[in-house]
């Protein structure tokens, strides 16, 4: 056989082999079902799900496939019935989701908090303030650079509500609306020595990669609750409602809640369980 024929043979064999293996990749062993979960990128990036889901799979033979997108998109996927359950942190949007009939059985899962980060030299002088709105007001007056998510995510909605609460409509060359994920915004704030509102989890995950410090924390308005909601089978009959409920029940069970409390990043606890049964 000529050299050329051999190469062709190898190429074709490769292609066929890829087909057989790859095609088989999508299939699970008979007993295992899958459900699709839409959540936010920050949730996924925190690594919490990587810790929880294998345990759930082992216990209930259900594989949870995670699609991590922005909050708005995650909720949209729920409305469209593209997924079976959503896990997001945007309370008012969640309530609307249920009120409009897209979601069934909303449960509190956990919360973490937001922090205002900034350069160590703190040119605006907000370090240690306990009132987030007041801190933002001072930032606006000092016109030091501030990076905003600008992407309608949970974080962005929180930021927006804080500005609103302070009666400020932020604009000007100091206000940078990035339109990107949390990580990208942290990097940007780091580069520009700017201030930024971030969830603690992503900040901890970035650790030594950035040179920003927590300057404002603890204000209850900075709390960031997470809710898990099953997609309503009345709206989308095809969704795997029962399996989704199995997941939700497990997620709010003492076992999972303890795992959530025990999850640490950078030596610190990241999430605080909210589904404790009384």
């Amino acid at each position: 056989m000529s050299v050329r024929s051999k190469v062709v043979l190898v190429g074709v064999t490769l292609l066929v082999a890829l087909q057989l293996i790859g095609g088989g990749c999508g299939k699970q062993p008979a007993r295992l079902t899958t459900i699709k979960l839409a959540t936010t990128t920050s949730t996924e990036n925190s690594g919490l799900l990587d810790a929880l889901l294998p345990v759930f799979r082992e216990k209930h033979s259900i594989e949870v496939q995670v699609i991590a997108v922005g909050t708005g998109k995650a909720i949209k996927h729920g409305e469209n019935g593209d997924v079976d359950v959503i896990l997001v942190h945007a309370r008012s949007a969640e309530d609307k989701f249920v009120a409009d009939g897209y979601g069934a059985n909303r449960r509190d899962v956990m919360h973490n908090d937001f922090v205002i980060l900034g350069p160590a030299e703190d040119p605006a002088g907000v370090r240690g303030m306990k009132d987030a709105a007041a801190a933002l007001t001072r930032l606006a007056d000092s016109k030091v650079s501030f990076v905003s998510r600008g992407d309608d995510s949970g974080t962005h909605k929180k930021e927006h509500s804080l500005w609103h609460g302070a009666g400020i409509e932020p604009s000007g060359s100091w206000y940078l609306s990035a339109g990107q994920g949390m990580g990208a915004c942290l990097t940007m704030a780091n580069e520009k020595r700017a201030y930024v509102l971030s969830d603690r989890g992503t900040y901890l995950a970035y650790g030594e990669k950035i040179n920003l410090e927590v300057l404002v924390e603890g204000d209850p308005r900075l709390f960031n609750p997470y809710g898990v909601i099953a997609v309503n089978p009345d709206k989308h009959p095809h969704v795997k409602y029962e399996d989704a409920m199995t997941f939700i029940n497990w997620l709010t069970s003492p076992e999972a809640q303890n795992m959530i409390a025990g999850y640490q990043r950078g030596g610190e606890q990241l999430f605080y369980p909210d589904a404790v049964e009384k």
């Binding site: 292609l15 990036n45 469209n80 990208a184 990097t187």
Partner: protein, 235 residues
């Protein structure tokens, strides 16, 4: 810091490869099998289309060629969005449950690569000496055989079309992300993994994945060049 990302990335890449890091190999595998499959399908459909446009005279031929060449610049997110609207629940192909599956990624990538295969295939056949077809005819080849011989004579250009399509697909992220959902173990390929690691600030890992992606793309190109045969460039 820029240089250290590059160098750090390079070292990281070697470590990831030689320790057989599962995530990396999984992502690489997904990239390979999905993009190779999509390239094969797009070529099987697009090359004959390009061939037909090249040899047949018909009204609006010039327009079709221009259209194909324009579609080369299709942004991947547009294709992703387009397919999404047709496969999500409640639409035409909803019941197939394609969204967030490798199948959806393949569909999207085929649509992305089809114009490439067709446009470049058309160019390859058009730039072939018309004497090739005539010679095959006069030597007694049947019409079907004439097509095969013409394609064989133009194989250099046709394989370049396939290589171009494959190169585009293996490096695209818009379609993969939107239609695959970047689901770990299933639809996370190298490009969506790079996007993920970048969003996490894990630049060195992202770089490592990028280097592996480049190596893969190079390898595929090399394979295709070998198929084209050696030293048969026109004088």
């Amino acid at each position: 810091m820029g240089e250290s990302i590059l160098i750090g990335g390079f070292w990281r890449a070697l470590i990831l490869i030689f320790t057989g890091d599962v995530r990396v190999y999984e992502a690489a595998f997904v990239s390979l099998w999905i993009s190779c499959t999509a390239t094969a399908i797009a070529s099987a459909l697009g090359l004959p289309l390009g061939f037909a446009v090249a040899v047949r005279r018909f009204r609006g031929r010039g327009f079709v060629i221009t259209l194909l060449n324009t579609l080369l610049a299709l942004p991947t997110v547009i294709v992703g969005l387009f397919v999404y609207t047709f496969i999500r629940r409640g639409t035409l192909f909803g019941p197939l449950d394609l969204l967030f599956s490798p199948g959806a990624m393949i569909v999207g990538q085929v649509i992305l690569a089809l114009p490439i295969a067709a446009a470049l295939g058309q160019t390859a056949i058009s730039s072939l000496d018309p004497a090739a077809r005539e010679t095959a005819l006069t030597l007694g080849a049947s019409p079907g055989r004439v097509i095969l011989t013409t394609a064989w004579e133009a194989r250099y250009g046709l394989l370049a079309a396939v290589a171009a399509a494959g190169g585009r697909l293996i490096g695209e992220v818009g379609v993969s992300m939107m239609l695959g959902g970047n689901i770990a173990h299933h639809t996370r390929n190298l490009t969506t993994a790079i996007a993920l690691e970048t969003s996490k600030g894990e630049f060195a890992v992202a770089m490592a994945l990028g280097i592996i992606l480049l190596v893969l793309a190079l390898g595929l190109n090399f394979l295709l060049r070998r198929l084209q045969g050696r030293g048969e460039e026109p004088a």
